[in-house]
């Protein structure tokens, strides 16, 4: 039994190391002096800060982070409200029509966004949405709605209908019932929605690349990719840029870990 446990612990350590190595190497690369001859596996003795300032200015990361933040925040709030509104009747009134609407919305999860790139781009040109943050926000909201409707509908079904009836008897309208009575009870689902949708929008590359070309609206991923293709021989700066652009999400993740993992596993199990 002790040998078995020993092997299990060895396995655990191997998994941990295997998954930390890429991050370790990124940190080493981002902190070492360009042109240094020491091994990338060795911990650098000093931190070469110019890597970071060079990446910050060269990739315009400040503006990228602001744009990403605006787009993510607006999309999450918009998508959650619209998704919750849609999930409510679809989970509560199980008519045939509602069933069809629900299935069609969920089926959209199967549409990879790259498949409609051509017509979507054309459409964006038509409605003057290219290089506009609102356009990408609308796209993020739309493409995340299926997941959100799914999560909220699942959660709503587990709340007894009697609550709605009680609220109705007390004179609450349907909107009031949804937002004042049911919404507080949906906190775990809301956490899952925020985490899942938040990560996917913050890290989005496709939509930002297609629709946001102008330097003042670029998100952090697109800023990084332009920076990288321009200066890919300055690996230390590129690595520093990678580190900076991942940091906000990683810090948030480590701080709210329980939230993240619960949210993601709720989403995964029901998804």
């Amino acid at each position: 039994m002790t040998i078995r446990r020993g092997m299990l612990y060895a396995g655990l350590v191997i998994v941990a190391i295997a998954h930390l190595v890429p991050f370790y190497l990124l940190i080493v690369l981002a902190t070492r002096t360009p042109g240094s001859t020491s091994s990338i596996w060795a911990i650098p003795s000093t931190i070469n800060w110019p890597n970071f300032s060079g990446a910050w200015e060269g990739a315009n990361l400040g503006s990228g982070l602001v744009n990403t933040f605006i787009i993510t925040a607006c999309s999450i709030v918009g998508a959650s409200v619209i998704g919750l509104l849609a999930a409510y009747p679809l989970a509560r009134r199980l008519t045939r029509g509602n069933g069809a609407v629900y299935t069609s919305i969920i089926a959209c999860m199967m549409v990879p966004n790259l498949t409609i790139l051509v017509p979507l781009y054309r459409f964006m040109v038509d409605i003057h949405g290219v290089n506009e943050r609102w356009a990408v926000i609308l796209l993020h909201i739309t493409f995340n709605l299926p997941t959100i409707v799914f999560l909220y509908a699942g959660a709503l079904r587990s709340i007894p209908r009697e609550l709605d009836d009680a609220a109705a008897i007390d004179g609450a309208g349907r909107l009031r019932t949804l937002f004042s009575v049911l919404f507080p009870l949906l906190a775990p689902a809301t956490a899952a929605v925020f985490v899942i949708v938040g990560i996917s929008i913050w890290n989005d590359f496709n939509f930002s690349l297609f629709f946001l070309h102008a330097s003042d609206v670029k998100t952090v991923t697109v800023s990084m990719s332009s920076f990288f293709s321009q200066y890919n021989s300055y690996v230390e700066r590129a690595a520093a840029g990678c580190l900076i652009s991942s940091l906000p999400m990683v810090v948030l993740f480590l701080a709210l870990q329980k939230f993240f993992i619960n949210g993601l596993s709720t989403g995964a199990v029901k998804g």
Binding site: R5, L8, Y9, L12, V15, A16, H19, V21, L25, L26, S39, I40, I82, L85, A86, L90, N98, V101, I105, C108, M110, V111, P112, L114, T115, I116, L117, V118, P119, L120, Y121, R122, F123, L139, F143, V149, L178, N203, D204, T221, M224, S225, F228, V235, A238, C242, S246, M249, V250, L252, F253, L254, Q257, F260, I261, L264, S265, A268, V269, G271
Partner: protein, 281 residues
């Protein structure tokens, strides 16, 4: 009618473009001209003889199916390991999970730093143990492999979490009963654990397959489809055809092909795995 806003958005930004995409796919539109002509199914016929499309289709299937299999096998292994209630399990779970938080573009760059020819971590390691350097990103097959590995590394945590919650839902009593009946750990795994995990397998596989078909950023970061178009996917080639080669009609047709592939592959996976599920009742 509360679902009206959602429905309007979906019809406007998914449904309508989708129909318009089908319309573009039967034209020779270049992406910006006001005029174009109807060419019937020419764009689709062209795919059949286009060596690039054949390569890219194969790559996309490898990305989707290869990383689905790897992620699920590894994810199940990790979940079984972490389910042993060892000290430090929580920490390892966090570590395996971390890459999911990072953008897949950045993950591609991280892998680029590891496997690049000059000064990459892999070659420094090989040099230290007396081996010659390798250049996986310049090799047609290895480039594809690196992309599969990078994608697997990033998302294995999703499968792991799914299986962990699946494992935790299996009643202790079932395991104990099997143990009393004298089933070996191996048999308990095949005959009790795995069948009960089937719903998790289904979800994880379908999610991975669809995600794998949409793989884009990690390729842009690592190889940009190269060498040549040897590691390109349907996604990167669609982008290239539209923005790079002004071949919008063809790009739209490839989009429809990708969609069909997603539907067929997703539904097949769903169908085959659903049949293997057992209900806990």
């Amino acid at each position: 009618m509360f679902y009206l806003p959602a429905l309007i958005l979906i019809v406007t930004f998914i449904g309508y473009p989708f129909i318009r995409g089908i319309a573009y796919s039967v034209t020779d539109w270049d992406g910006f001209s006001q005029t174009f002509s109807f060419v019937g199914l020419d764009q689709y016929a062209r795919m059949l003889t286009d060596q690039r499309v054949v390569t890219v289709l194969l790559n996309t299937l490898i990305y989707a199916i290869g990383s689905t299999i790897l992620q699920n096998v590894l994810g199940l292994g990790y979940a079984l390991l972490l389910d042993q209630k060892l000290r430090g399990s929580k920490l390892v779970r966090t570590i395996v999970y971390l890459p999911i938080i990072v953008s897949n573009l950045i993950m591609g760059y991280i892998w680029y730093f590891m496997v690049r020819f000059n000064g990459g971590a892999l070659n420094e390691f090989l040099g230290a143990i007396g081996q010659g350097p390798v250049n996986p990103l310049a090799d047609r097959n290895l480039a594809v492999l690196v992309i599969v590995l990078a994608n697997t590394f990033q998302y294995v945590g999703v499968a792991m979490i799914l299986y962990l919650s699946g494992l935790q839902a299996i009643p202790r009593s079932l395991m104990e009963a099997a143990e009393i009946d004298g089933a070996s750990p191996w048999r308990r795994f095949w005959n009790v654990t795995l069948p009960l995990l089937a719903p998790s397998v289904t979800i994880s596989a379908v999610v991975n397959v669809i995600g794998g078909l949409n793989i884009f950023a990690v390729i842009v970061a690592l190889t940009n489809g190269g060498p040549g178009y040897a590691s390109a996917s349907l996604g990167t080639i669609t982008y290239q055809l539209y923005f790079g080669e002004q071949n919008a009609g063809y790009a739209a047709a490839l989009g429809i092909l990708t969609f069909t592939l997603a539907a067929v592959l997703g539904l097949t996976t769903l169908y085959f795995l659903r049949r293997r599920e057992v209900e806990l009742s």
